[in-house]
């Protein structure tokens, strides 16, 4: 990487890294240090191909998403979560205000798998259509659709108070043995 490329890289990081970090934090379930680690690795990869990248931000974002759902990241996250205090999964009948619901949602988002969380970030934070999410993650539209569906179902399982927002969905969803390791409150 020559001096000119380094200057360009530094300028890109100075202007765009805060926005990229926000995405990385969401992908990491709110873990700032894991997010910095994720972004750092993505930027290192981008630096290695700097001369050949036309759209650096799109390139770095793609690395962020794919890196997050890669096998290594999944393994690493499991290890991180193994000693973390489980978030409070419910606050009873008082959990009705918007603020409380968002807190519940944060805790639940942090407990999704990396793949589920990544799909939700792409669909609902980046507002990307399913086809674009499929292209970024290198999977089919059907996989994006089913992962989104499962992720939302898992959120309702982790925070049963959320089903009050969409009772019909609550009735539809039955915990699946594939992704319901937590106790479902009566």
């Amino acid at each position: 990487m020559d001096a000119e490329a380094q200057d360009g890289f530094r300028e890109f990081v100075a202007h765009r890294s805060s926005a990229l970090l926000k995405t990385a934090v969401l992908l990491s379930g709110g873990d700032r240090h894991a997010a910095e680690d994720l972004l750092q690795n993505a930027l290192i990869k981008a630096a290695g191909r700097w001369h050949r990248i036309d759209e650096p931000e799109a390139y770095v974002r793609q690395i962020l998403y794919r890196q997050q759902i890669s096998r290594w990241r999944l393994k690493w996250r499991r290890r991180e979560l193994s000693v973390a205090e489980p978030p409070d999964t419910g606050t009873g009948p008082d959990a009705s205000s918007a603020t409380e619901l968002r807190l519940l949602m944060r805790g639940a988002l942090a407990r999704l798998t990396a793949r589920q969380r990544t799909v939700l970030v792409l669909r609902y934070f980046e507002d990307l259509p399913e086809a674009d999410v499929a292209r970024i993650l290198g999977c089919s539209v059907g996989t994006v659709r089913s992962t989104t569906h499962r992720a939302l179902a898992r959120l309702r399982t982790l925070a049963p108070e959320l089903t009050a927002l969409d009772p019909a969905a609550g009735e539809r969803q039955q915990p699946s043995r594939d992704y319901s390791p937590v106790e479902v409150r009566p």
Partner: protein, 403 residues
């Protein structure tokens, strides 16, 4: 509002709250990239050498036997050490914690019964991964990212603060200050400096008879610390706040930022030595933040990166050469577990720390080395050679920074 809308709102709330990236993030990324490339090249060279050695047969293997354990070993999980010696020549660190510098402390005779406890620093060049002696500075604080250090020249209190580029060894910028400064510390994001002001050199001490050379200072002089600046590193500007005199503070008691940067604290001198007093940024004494009230100034590691665990002091020693320190709930002070290590120095990640751990039995002189310890495991990974950390010359004091 349905669940999808709540997901959208929650994600946007989380993103909006996230503070921006430290200004030197690009340098940090490029530095890590350089180090990784260097290690890959070294690994490739080692692999090539091994292949050649196998190819030419036994004589070459015999010739290389004494170098079978490299002094600077990079391990798969990012742990790298210089296990043959202390003080180290090559980079020591693990995960997010790197030994950014170390210093020796020597006492020089001055006039009229005064002695000067003077530091000499060795600083890590993040590009070469080697430590080099730099005698220009009396105090050094290394910013997160390892690219920049704030430095003070030899004569204290100093009226300017240097921002040193650790790769070139040159001061990139001087920040003038209108009150004498003798101590520096960065905030966690590296954007601000707290600079402690004194009205005389806080390293000037009187050493009582019989204690010379042991590092046990017997100080009888009046109060010297006056307050602190909180400086914005980018602009070099920031207010000064006076701090009420404390008659116990008669030598260096520098301020550091709390975890959030909304308060500063300094070690308490006197009856509760080792505990810490917090101040708001106007210099008023305040109660400790809820998650820092059980921390001690003599345990440098403090809170884990996620803030959920507090590193505390030595809990027990069992022979031979095994110590355990306490890991506590930062809010209740309740011990959660014990972890290997006699002195917890820096968190590597949320489960591992760098610590001093003794290498000698309980009946021998205390010798130690830097190790990585892991919560839930009795194993330690050596990082350095052995040292007598509290010897007559105070040994070398490690200075860790987030990489």
């Amino acid at each position: 509002m349905n669940v999808e809308e709540l997901v959208r709102d929650s994600l946007r709330d989380m993103a909006a709250e996230e503070p921006s990236v430290a200004p030197e993030f690009a340098d940090r990324v490029l530095g890590v990239r350089r180090r990784r490339r260097t290690r890959r090249l070294v690994a490739a060279a080692v692999a090539t050498t091994t292949a050649l050695a196998v190819a030419v047969g036994v004589p070459l293997l015999d010739a290389g036997r004494q170098h079978a354990r490299p002094a600077h070993a990079v391990q798969p999980d990012g742990v790298h050490g210089d296990t043959e010696q202390w003080p180290p020549r090559k980079e020591i660190g693990a995960g997010g914690a790197t030994l950014a510098a170390y210093y020796s402390l020597k006492i020089h005779k001055q006039s009229a019964g005064w002695d000067l406890a003077e530091r000499t620093y060795w600083l890590l060049d993040p590009e070469t991964g080697r430590y080099a002696k730099d005698t220009r500075w009396s105090d050094v604080a290394v910013a997160p990212g390892l690219r920049t250090a704030a430095v003070l020249e030899r004569t204290l209190p100093a009226h300017r603060i240097g921002l040193l580029d650790l790769t070139t060894g040159k001061v990139e910028r001087w920040i003038p200050v209108d009150r004498g400064v003798a101590g520096l510390a960065f905030s966690e994001d590296g954007r601000r400096l707290v600079a402690t002001t004194y009205d005389k050199n806080p390293d000037l001490v009187r050493v009582g008879s019989g204690t010379k050379g042991t590092g046990a200072f017997n100080v009888l002089d009046d109060v010297s610390r006056t307050g602190f600046f909180v400086l914005d590193v980018a602009s070099g500007e920031g207010p000064w706040s006076g701090v009420a005199a404390d008659r116990n503070v008669t030598y260096r008691h520098d301020f550091s930022f709390s975890r959030t940067g909304e308060q500063v604290y300094a070690r308490i001198a006197g009856s509760r030595d080792g505990m810490q007093q917090f101040y708001d940024l106007d210099g008023n004494m305040i109660a400790a933040p809820a998650d820092e009230k059980y921390l001690r100034s003599d345990v440098p590691a403090r809170l884990s990166p996620n803030g959920e665990l507090a590193a505390l002091g030595l809990a027990k020693e069992v022979g031979p050469a095994k110590s355990y320190s306490s890991i506590r709930d930062p809010r209740t002070g309740r011990e959660i577990t014990k972890v290997r290590g006699a002195e917890l120095l820096a968190w590597v990640d949320d489960h591992r720390l760098i610590a001093w751990e003794r290498t000698t039995g309980l009946d021998g002189p205390y010798r130690a080395r830097l190790v990585v310890v892991t919560i839930g495991s009795d194993k330690v990974v050596p990082l350095s050679g052995e040292v007598e950390p509290y010897g007559p010359s105070q040994g070398w004091t490690p200075v860790f920074a987030r990489s």
